[in-house]
Each structure stands twice: as structure tokens, then as C-alpha cells.
Symmetry: C2
């Protein structure tokens, strides 16, 4: 039996492009004349369309959340550990919708697309986006799919921010909001890391102010450093220590050798950075990190997140991970406190995990799986 015909896999999946020709006025005031969304769905929409779950992706995510595109795939979708028959988001019960957000680089309209007004690649001219713009496009996608109300909107990290924004923008279209390893807004330190990553990209001469694609160039080095920064901050100090320690990949500490030794963590990070820089778009990276930085759930609500959440009509699951220092448990507790002050139903779990911020993606974590599954099982459809 091949891996994608396993009982708990959604199996082979085929993404689909949805074209939206009605212009969208963005939060920035600019109009996006038309756009494509690249979408995958798993499971079956029921007759009353009451079993739909929206998956919102994080910084480097996309529409391919579960299953396999072909027998040759090295890996399944990015959240395959939690989406499938019998998994936390059970596709025997739910109709699951995952999309690549606009501004992305996996098939939806973004900086690598052609700007219809100029006939050229958007590149660095693609409009600035905010989380609410993604929510708006997701709402239109729901309309197209005949989904009046989501059983749940679910996301980790930046995806959790989209899920929370949904509850304010379309309160009557969400029954449950699941925000994993997320925050009401970034801290100065988080913004600082994002800004450093952006400076690494902007400083690469192959970035050419965002117009590298037209010139057949690629800011590999800058994006690679950006990814390295991200990668360190998504892992925990201890987790990294356990995985790599101070083991050498090559070289030796013996005296008498003037070659720099190379720690495993160094070659690992360089490899991760380089691989990423070849498959991910630098303008998308800049755009996504800016959206993260700008997000501030309570900005238009007198900076009071409880006041913001009073608009919400749904129930909430909030999850954090003990070793996540980029979106620390304290950030999730701020969400929970605001929800409680707003008299909302909220379930909160702080999960023991060695995986840092990445924990929300990592499988084989029974406590996380069980509480996630148990919450999703309790959703009436």
C-alpha cells in the first residue's frame, strides 16, 4: 500500500484555481483588479454546508495543507499530521478548505504574477497587504463554495491572526475559531527579527528593488539569511541543543589546523536557507512579514482586545507551546484574558513541547493532537 493510500491520509489531491474578477479594495486603499486563489479541499461539503473548516496558513505556508500531489512527493502537505480521516481535523466529518493567500508565491495572485495594467511581473510593486485583506478574499471564496458559515476557522501563528480577524469582520460566519501559537500583535522583538530579515533581502544586490524576476535574477543570499533568522527563532534553544548540540559536521578541534571548524547547526541552517531561497519569493517574504508586523487586533477598538472580541459570536480554542519564545504562551494568555473579559467561551491549553514555535506544525505530539481532536470532535455540524 503506498503512503498516500493509507487509511488516515487524504491521499492524492489536486489544487484548483479560483478566479475572482471583481476588484478588491485593499486595506491600503489600492484596488486589486482581479485575482486568482489556489485552493485545495479535503472531505465532502454536507448538504447544509455546515461542516466547512477553513485553514489559514502562516508566513511560508500555502494551499497544500494535506495529502500528496504525486507519488514522487518527498513530503505531504504542511499540516498533514492534523488533517485527514481520523485526524484532529477529521475529513470524514469536515469539508476542509486550504488556500494560498494573495501575495503568496504558490499559485495565488502575488508579486510573481503579471500586473494586468502593465503586462509585467508585479515584483516589488505588488500592493501592501494586511491580514484583513486575506480574510476578505477568504470570505469571497466561501461565497463561491456556497459556505455561508464556517464550522471553524483554524490557523497557527500568522494563520491564527487571520482566524481571529475573521471573528471580528464576519462574526456571523464563524462558529469556532482555533488560534494556535498566535498573538494579538507582535512584540518589538518580533518586529526587530522581521526587519532584520527584510534588510538582509533588501541589501542583496540581486533584489533590484523587488524587480529581480524581470531581470532573471534571484536574491538567494539575502533570502537565505532571512530564512536562517526565521528558522532559529522558530526553534527552541533547548530543542536546537538536543538536535544539534555542538557536534561537528567536519573539521576538528585539534590544534594545528587553521580551517574553521563547522558545527552541524551551521551546515543545517545554510542548507535550510539556501533551499528556501530557491522555492520562495523574496517579495512575498517581505509582504508577509509586514502583514505580521502591522497586525494589531485591537487597534480600531481603543486598543482594547476585549472590546474587539465583544463583536465575536463564536467559541474559541487557543493553544500555545511551552518552548515557543517567538509567540510565547504569555501572548496566548493575553488572547485568553481578552476573550474572558469579553465573556466568550474559550478553551486554552499550554502544551509542553520541545519544538518552539514550530511545534504547531510538528506531528507525534499526543497531548496537542488529543486536545485539538477533542475540540474539533465537539463541533456540531
Amino acid at each position: 500500500m503506498s503512503r498516500f493510500s493509507q487509511a488516515n491520509s487524504v491521499g492524492l489531491v489536486t489544487p484548483q484555481v479560483y478566479r475572482f474578477d471583481q476588484p478588491l479594495t485593499l486595506a491600503s486603499g489600492r484596488d486589486l483588479p482581479a485575482y486568482d486563489l489556489m485552493v485545495e479541499t479535503y472531505g465532502e461539503l454536507n448538504a447544509t454546508a455546515s461542516n466547512a473548516v477553513l485553514i489559514c496558513h502562516a508566513l511560508s505556508g500555502h494551499h497544500h495543507a494535506a495529502g500528496w500531489h504525486s507519488a514522487d512527493d518527498a513530503k505531504p502537505g504542511w499540516w498533514d499530521a492534523y488533517i485527514g480521516p481520523g485526524k484532529a481535523i477529521d475529513t470524514q466529518k469536515f469539508f476542509v478548505v486550504a488556500l494560498n493567500n494573495i501575495g503568496g508565491c504558490h499559485g495565488s495572485t502575488g508579486p510573481t504574477s503579471i500586473n494586468p495594467e502593465t503586462g509585467k511581473i508585479w515584483g516589488g510593486d505588488f500592493p501592501t497587504l494586511r491580514v484583513r485583506d486575506w480574510v476578505a478574499t477568504q470570505a469571497r471564496l466561501a461565497d463561491r463554495l456556497g459556505i455561508a458559515q464556517w464550522a471553524a476557522v483554524v490557523g497557527g501563528s500568522l494563520g491564527g491572526m487571520q482566524a481571529m480577524r475573521w471573528t471580528l469582520e464576519y462574526p456571523d460566519r464563524v462558529r469556532h475559531c482555533v488560534a494556535v501559537a498566535s498573538a494579538l500583535k507582535l512584540s518589538a522583538q518580533n518586529i526587530a527579527f522581521n526587519e532584520t530579515a527584510r534588510q538582509a533581502i533588501l541589501g542583496d544586490p540581486d533584489f533590484v528593488a523587488g524587480h529581480y524576476a524581470e531581470q532573471g535574477r534571484l536574491p538567494v543570499k539575502g533570502l537565505s539569511v532571512a530564512r536562517m533568522i526565521g528558522h532559529i527563532t522558530y526553534l527552541s534553544d533547548d530543542g536546537m541543543g538536543q538536535k544539534f548540540g555542538r557536534e561537528l559536521r567536519s573539521g576538528s578541534f585539534d590544534q594545528g589546523i587553521d580551517e574553521p571548524v563547522e558545527f552541524q547547526i551551521e551546515s543545517y541552517l545554510r542548507y535550510q536557507g539556501k533551499s528556501f531561497s530557491k522555492v520562495f519569493d523574496a517579495n512575498t517574504y517581505i509582504l508577509m512579514t509586514h502583514a505580521l508586523d502591522y497586525f494589531d487586533l485591537a487597534r480600531e477598538y481603543n486598543h482594547d482586545p476585549a472590546q474587539a472580541f465583544r463583536r465575536a459570536l463564536c467559541n474559541f480554542l487557543v493553544v500555545s507551546f511551552t518552548t515557543d519564545w517567538r509567540f510565547a504562551p504569555a501572548r496566548s494568555r493575553e488572547i485568553v484574558n481578552a476573550l474572558m473579559r469579553a465573556d466568550k467561551n474559550v478553551t486554552y491549553a499550554e502544551v509542553e513541547s520541545p519544538y518552539g514555535h514550530d511545534a504547531f506544525l510538528v506531528g507525534n505530539q499526543p497531548r496537542y493532537e488529543n486536545l485539538f481532536a477533542s475540540y474539533m470532535q465537539g463541533i456540531a455540524v
Copy 2:
């Protein structure tokens, strides 16, 4: 009264170059044929030369630890808060020696110096250094100054590593070792941050494999990103939040504007990065971070730091800061535990401070000042 004639300032100071013509065999096996050390001293050496204190600098430090070079200086030496008449390291009692380490870029022989064998700037060909090489040059400096034994060897961060190495290499030449915000060795995460900073420098086309100076170039962008990474990790999350929060420097969150907003933390970091990249040498940065990464106090002692410290003959003061996550209190406790297992006298303090790793440099911290001063006052000279 001008600021440098204040009673608690060492006042105007003049650095002095010491030339060493005897070749030094480095830990790497290579010989450094000759070298200069740029040195400052404060206070007076007593008749028995029993009151000398050596200050070891950290990654971006140098010989100018206290006082002023001229009336126009914007800032005094980097540890002026702790060195001077009546200060923690009291120059009325101690003769204080501060130097720029070899490999540095502040007057001592380093990558910006001329390689006598080629007549060209060393640049990227300057030999790899380890902490013990600095200790060896510092011992020769002590010989030159007529100091058979230091009353204390003192340092923060990488400087603390030098102070600890002194106690193993020259146990009978140190009476007290003060290691502030230091560690027995770096964690994988620390190495990862250093490697990312190095990749930012190496990826800058103006780095030219370390030979930028010969070509009149300067890897400003790469070094700037490296410094930004360092800067974030030397501050605490909370401290950064208190100092900058999410305040905007320019722009507005109002809808209808497609200009990216700019947070204060962003412009601050860019400014810090850019300023640093113009005054600090990129090859030195690489060399210093490698020395940090390689340092492992117990490597030659069966990886048992207690076994290593059994060689030491001095007393120890170890200090850590609560919000320092780059050299966390847990790392200092490892030092203390090893010293106790080795039956050494050690005083340990974990100081409450909002300043992260930078705390060891920051003045106006009464608890730190008091315990530091009190320990130094107890040293017999």
C-alpha cells in the same frame, strides 16, 4: 567642570601601542610573526605590582574601557560606569589594564593590519584565533608591564571566557576571576545566530572573500545585518518592548495609505547596524564570533568543567542577569556548579535587570554595582 574632570572619572586617557617582536605560535598552529597591542591603563601600579586588574573585552569591545580621549568625545570608554575613582573597579586602589585583542580593529594587530610577509593588508587571510591566543598575548603584556600576578582578571561575555581561560592557563598568575554574563561554551542557538550573522557578511558582494580593504570596498550591508542580529539578541524582549513598543517613527496605520509604516525599532536597528558597519571591521567580526563558537572551557578536560577548574588557584565572582537570554543565568549556574564541584571559592549573583545580555555594560544598576564593588573591595592588594 568638564565631564572628564569629574571626581569619579579617570579623565583624559591616552592609549599606547606595545610592540611584540617575538613570534607567537597560535592555537591553530600558525605563527603570528610580530604584533602590536593597543593598551590603556588607569590608576597606578603599586610597588609590589600586586594591584593590577586586567579587563578583557567582548565581541565588539576594545582597549578604551574608561575615561575620555578628548573633550569632543560623545561617549566615554565602554565600561566607564564600572571603572574609575570610587567605582566598582576603583582606580584609587587598582592599576587597571585594558587592551584591544589581536584580531581586533582598534589598533592592535588584526585583519586591517599589514601582513609583513606579503606587504599587503591581512584581510581574510588573518589567522583563526581562539580565546587562549588572547590569553597568551595578555600574559606577555603582563610580563612587559612587570605584573607577575593579576589581582583580578575581569570580563563580560567573551571577556568572561578569557578570564576563565586565564585561571587554567596561568593559574598562579590570577588571584581573582570575575566572569560576568558568560558561559562555559555557547549553545547551538548561540552558534546559529553567529553563523547567520557571518552568512550576512559573506554574502555581501563587497566582502570579496575578506579582501574588501585592498579594493577600497566595505561590506556595509552585510555587517549591518550582522549587527542587527547581534543587537536584538543582546537586548531582552521586555526591555525592547519597554523602550520601543510598537511606536511608529513615521507613517500611519490609517487605512488608505500604501506606504509601509515604520516602527521605531526598525529605524533604530537600521541606524545601529549602519553606524557599526562603518567603524567595525567585518573580518574581525567573523574572527571574534568564531572564537566565541569554538570556546569550550572543558574540551581538553574530558568535557568536565570541574576537572578543568581544579587547575585554578583563584577565587571567583560569577554574575548573570535575569533577562539575558543569549548568556542566560542557567549558563552562569553551570560555571558555578563546576567551580563548587572543583572546591573553589565562588560568589554568585543573579541580578534582576531589564537589559538582557547588554546589562553587563549598562550603568545605574545599583545591585550590580554594589555587589561588583563589594567583591572588588574585598580583594587584598
